[in-house]
């Protein structure tokens, strides 16, 4: 007796499943509305409310647009976008992805250059093969070295180090005073690589801005003597005990707590750390660029930005209008400046125009963006022509972790060259 209802239920279930699958496309909507899918990611700073509010505000400026938010399961937007592409669900709008991963397949539509030139301070910051796929609304410095002024004073250090020798001297004094000189959230691969990003950006890219293009052209290699010598500096820091011995077990979130809690004195990190500086004693923190041998200032710069547009979006003009409205909304930038340490790059606006409250260390760090200095594309973080080939970031992170516990610098650099060869074949 029970079999017929059971079969009926199975059939109904299958029909419902079929209907759900066939109705799962991104386009379509109610009435005259056009539905656009928008891939975002959430962090403690960029909450669900931030995205909902920012979407509602931009939607109000684009009549007929209905945004369906897709939240990436982790902060790795690129990997999730690739999974969505594999399953035929590539979003219409994609927040803060690496365009170089997708442009080769013709998946992205560039923004109108006239609009980019008219609205942004560094219109070419995100240029990839002559086109701009992400409006350069903001920028980051990756890394800067943040330091605890009180711990510096206690260790007898009177000023922030200006060159490599002074940096080593500061490390030695801090260690002697019983403080861990440098914080490292080594359990998270990207955070583990920060000192290496600083060293390679300052010592190699600082002397040859085209080094990454030369690497693509096979004119230089990671195993070259100058790179090996530079990376050896990281081993010096590890060998001298300037990091916590168990740093590879420290999560990125814990590394912030340890540094802001005074357990360590310096913290090489992307300028998004500025959003985590405790407000109650923000004046206790300062910053300086990763030190070079001769004391020249090199700024590892990353042109950040908002969203890319899918070339396959049903209404790509509407998608671009939404992207423009979102990118120029000062309220979005306000949140990014205050919580994510983003340096705003919209033309004709000063920090005051965003109505933000920022610390002195933020202002000092932001000053490097406006100054005429040696800006280079931070290795592993650039999203323009200097972006690394797919998979190289992981190899770079793994090398950084390996060099924490082993001293085969030449061997690790050779591995990077091999990974590069495989990735670019």
């Amino acid at each position: 007796m029970i079999r017929k209802p059971l079969l009926a239920a199975c059939a109904a279930g299958l029909l419902a499943l079929t209907a759900a699958c066939s109705g799962g496309g991104g386009a379509g909507g109610e009435g005259d509305e056009t539905a656009l899918t928008y891939l975002v990611f959430e962090t403690p700073s960029l909450t669900a409310k931030f995205w909902d509010d920012s979407i509602a505000a931009a939607q109000a400026e684009v009549p007929g647009a209905k945004i369906n938010k897709i939240v990436a399961p982790s902060t790795d937007r690129d990997a999730y976008a690739k999974q969505l592409q594999q399953s035929g669900q590539f979003p219409d709008l994609l927040q803060s992805i690496t365009p170089s991963n997708f442009v080769g397949a013709g998946l992205l539509k560039p923004y109108d250059k006239t609009w980019i030139d008219a609205n942004f301070l560094l219109p070419s910051a995100n240029t990839l093969k002559g086109e701009v796929y992400i409006p350069p609304t903001n920028s980051q410095i990756v890394p800067q070295v943040y330091y605890n002024k009180e711990l510096f004073t206690k260790a007898g250090i009177t000023a922030a180090p200006k060159n490599w020798a002074e940096f080593l001297d500061a490390c030695a004094k801090l260690k002697a005073s019983g403080v861990t000189p440098i914080e490292l959230g080594g359990a998270d691969p990207f955070a583990a690589s920060m000192p290496l990003v600083g060293i390679v950006s300052a010592d190699i890219l600082g002397k040859n801005k085209n080094w990454l293009q030369d690497r693509y052209a096979d004119k230089v290699k990671f195993a070259d003597a100058n790179v090996v010598t530079a990376v050896q500096k990281y081993r010096t820091l590890v060998g001298n005990g300037y990091f916590d011995k168990g740093a590879l077990g420290v999560k990125y979130a814990d590394s912030i707590t340890r540094f802001t809690g005074g357990k360590s004195a310096m913290y090489p990190m992307g300028s998004w750390f500025l959003g985590s500086v405790p407000k109650e004693n923000a004046d206790n923190f300062g910053s300086f660029p990763w030190p070079t041998d001769d004391g020249s200032v090199v700024v590892p710069f990353v042109g950040g930005g908002s969203m890319a547009i899918s070339a396959k979006a049903e209404d790509s003009a509407m998608a671009e209008n939404f992207g423009r409205a979102w990118s120029l909304n000062p309220a979005n930038l306000k949140a990014l400046i205050e919580t994510d340490g983003a340096f705003p790059m919209i033309k004709g606006k000063t920090l005051d125009d965003y109505g933000v409250t920022v610390s002195q260390v933020f202002k000092d760090s932001y000053a490097y963006v406006g100054q005429d200095n040696n800006k280079v594309n931070a290795i592993g973080w650039a999203t323009n022509d200097d972006a690394l080939p797919p998979g190289l970031n992981d190899a770079f992170y793994a090398s950084a972790q390996a060099l924490f516990s082993g001293d085969d610098v030449a061997g690790e650099m050779k591995k990077l060259d091999e990974a590069w060869k495989t990735a670019t074949q």
Partner: protein
């Protein structure tokens, strides 16, 4: 009337056939078809972000020979598979003997013992992360009671991280192995124990001569499923260490996902997946065969 009887007989048969067809259809669509697609992909240079994907013959398979990361990941996978299987089964047998009682408190404890098995691997990973990180619960406790002078990098050094993952996975699997061995223990006729008692066989001797041989079928199931589970381990490692530090805990399953979705090398990732499938089948068949022969000999 005879016609009616015939119709009644036919209806259930048709219903069963439909259900079987449904099950077979699902099996074909969700298991066999992806497997065949993956096999096909393993002979191409498929890249999700490239318009054309070409047939490359056996190139992906020959590339595996010189792939150091693959070799390292296989070593990690096999070490974990055999280490965890031995540990989880030893714990399972021990717990099963302890919990082989019938009163309420033991029944409650059995449920508690099974708990790790029902938790999602991701949740298990996050829970153990709070325990094992540098500032985690374990280091805090050990520092407080004076066992350690400084925090120990449970997840921060290659060997310790691999050991830590092994402990976590063994903990998860021990829930399953305990239940299997408990069922096996309860299937042993009481008369056998009575006879052993009459013969003066007690303690470890009774375990060796009565219990161990009688739970052999349970051992076969438990060992085989433990091995297969660990050979395809992904979630717990992804959350606990993401394969680090420096790829020292990268399992082959994790490597496959990274190849496909970070390096965009779906073709090569498919070839590695085929290797893992073959390896899993080989290990499972060999171990099952050996354990079955042992069951007969006992």
């Amino acid at each position: 009337m005879p016609g009616t009887r015939r119709r009644r007989r036919e209806t259930p048969d048709r219903g069963l056939a439909l259900l079987a067809a449904l099950a077979l259809g699902l099996y074909l669509v969700f298991l066999v078809l992806p497997l065949l697609l993956s096999l096909r992909s393993s002979f191409t240079n498929e890249n999700p972000l490239r318009a054309t994907n070409d047939f490359v013959g056996l190139r992906n398979y020959t590339e595996m020979v010189g792939d150091e990361q693959l070799r390292a990941s296989l070593k990690v996978t096999l070490l974990l598979a055999f280490g965890v299987t031995i540990a989880a089964n030893a714990i399972g047998v021990g717990f099963a003997i302890l919990l082989n009682r019938t009163n309420l408190s033991y029944r409650v404890m059995r449920t508690v013992a099974f708990l790790p098995q029902v938790l999602s691997g991701v949740i298990v990973g996050f829970v153990w992360q709070t325990i094992l990180t540098q500032n985690g619960v374990l280091n805090t406790a050990l520092l407080k009671i004076g066992v350690l002078d400084e925090p120990y990098p449970w997840l921060g050094s290659p060997n310790a991280a691999l050991f830590s993952i092994g402990v976590v996975v063994a903990w998860v699997l021990s829930g399953f192995t305990t239940v299997v061995y408990l069922a096996a223990l309860q299937s042993i006729p009481l008369e056998l124990h009575d006879m052993a008692s009459l013969d003066g066989v007690r303690g470890t001797q009774r375990f060796r001569m009565v219990t161990w041989p009688m739970i052999a079928p349970g051992t076969t199931i438990s060992v085989t499923i433990s091995l297969i589970t660990v050979l395809k381990l992904y979630d717990i490692i992804a959350v606990l260490t993401a394969g680090g530090p420096a790829n020292s805990t990268q399992s082959t399953a994790l490597y496959i996902v990274k190849l496909a979705f970070t390096s965009d090398r779906v073709g090569y990732a498919s070839a590695v997946a085929m290797l893992l499938l073959a390896l899993s089948a080989l290990v499972a068949l060999t171990v099952t065969g050996a354990l079955r022969r042992r069951e007969v000999s006992l």
